[in-house]
């Protein structure tokens, strides 16, 4: 989002940054398949997720690894042992390890690209007679459509794999613990069916709101001084002094820790759900 840099502004509306771009697509296509800023960020993230590992690996892997090779090996090791092995049974590894690893790398790329200031804000600022585009941070994953689409892939995959490995009757029976007393069975069925759909909400909302709230908090801390300048006048400078270090600290926290953590969580939970459907424990 665009931070109003030390200028008084009463119409600072951080939420609008996440809704306005839908109405101003770059290319209009039928069926709502417009190419707008969100789509552009998705493409950039996909390019980063594909090209960065590819370029590092294509340079040649050595027995004595360079720093970039160590990084790639660490990412692969995390995806294999921490994410896939922890959730998936051995027979599901061949099909679903690539999926969860892709989820991990792609969402991580989306989140990190979302914290790099890029000139796609559609607004410009004039410096010494030349129009420069205003820099802006925007994450493709701070968008419910993206998070929900990824979640739906996991959701459908979970149930398809559950039915494929266990058969329809045995799979749906496995939702309810065996040996449940008859009287509470209807209640338990309702709760278990509901919990399957709550997964859909929780998995998508976690990613979406984490990124949205992260960007909002940064924007609020950086912009709160400008927002209060209308009522405080010159005293708003004091607010800037508190707001900017806080904003920058939060930016560093979000860009390094939260971006990676959310990707890890999404992939780990996907693996756990799919693994749980392949091998229902209860």
């Amino acid at each position: 989002m665009i931070v109003p840099f030390l200028e008084s502004s009463t119409n600072f509306d951080p939420v609008a940054e996440f809704t306005d771009f839908v109405n101003h697509p770059y290319v209009e296509l039928p069926l709502g398949l417009d190419i707008n800023k969100g789509v552009l960020y998705l493409w950039i993230s996909a390019a980063v997720a594909i090209l960065v590992p590819l370029l590092i690996i294509r340079r040649g892997l050595k027995a004595k690894p360079s720093r970039s090779q160590t990084f790639i090996e660490m990412v692969y090791d995390t995806a294999y042992t921490q994410i896939a092995k922890a959730g998936l049974p051995d027979e599901g590894m061949r099909i679903w390890f690539p999926y969860v690893a892709t989820c991990f790398v792609f969402i991580w790329a989306m989140n990190v690209v979302g914290f790099i200031p890029l000139p796609f804000s559609g607004e410009s600022v004039e410096i010494a007679g030349v129009d420069f585009p205003k820099l802006q941070i925007y994450a493709a994953s701070a968008n419910l459509s993206v998070a929900l689409t990824l979640t739906l892939v996991t959701f459908v995959a979970t149930h398809v794999e559950g039915i494929r490995y266990n058969g329809v009757v045995k799979y749906f029976k496995s939702w309810v613990p065996s040996g449940t007393p008859k009287p509470i069975l209807p209640l338990l069925i309702v709760v278990e069916v509901l919990s399957q759909f709550v997964r859909l909400v929780s998995l998508s909302f976690r990613l979406f709101f984490n990124m949205l709230a992260g960007h909002l908090v940064i924007a609020v801390f950086l912009g709160v001084g400008a927002l209060m300048a209308a009522s405080l006048g010159n005293a708003a400078f004091a607010v800037h002094i508190i707001g900017w270090p806080m904003g920058i600290a939060l930016y560093l926290l979000e860009a390094t820790l939260i971006a990676a953590l959310q990707a890890y969580i999404f992939a780990a939970l996907s693996a756990l759900y799919i693994g749980g459907a392949i091998h229902p424990d209860h």
């Binding site: 922890a86 929780s202 909302f205 976690r206 984490n210 709230a213 953590l261 959310q262 969580i265």
Partner: protein
Amino acid sequence: MALEGNVNDAAKTIVLGLATGFGAIGPGIGVGIIFGKTIEAVGRQPELRGQLQGMMWLGFALTEAIVFYALGMAFVAFAIT
């Protein structure tokens, strides 16, 4: 006492703040418990550190998501009425 000005907007803003704030209390306690217990467990059995850390982050994320339900509902209340 009659209230002047845009009472509707004021109420919405207050509700947004209150809902998010109250919604953050429970998960705040929960996240504290998760990290504290993990530290305790690692202190007791340092060799399980790797396994415990994976479970810790998972528990952290599951707990933390509850703040965002509150935030989401607060935004809905802010946007609709």
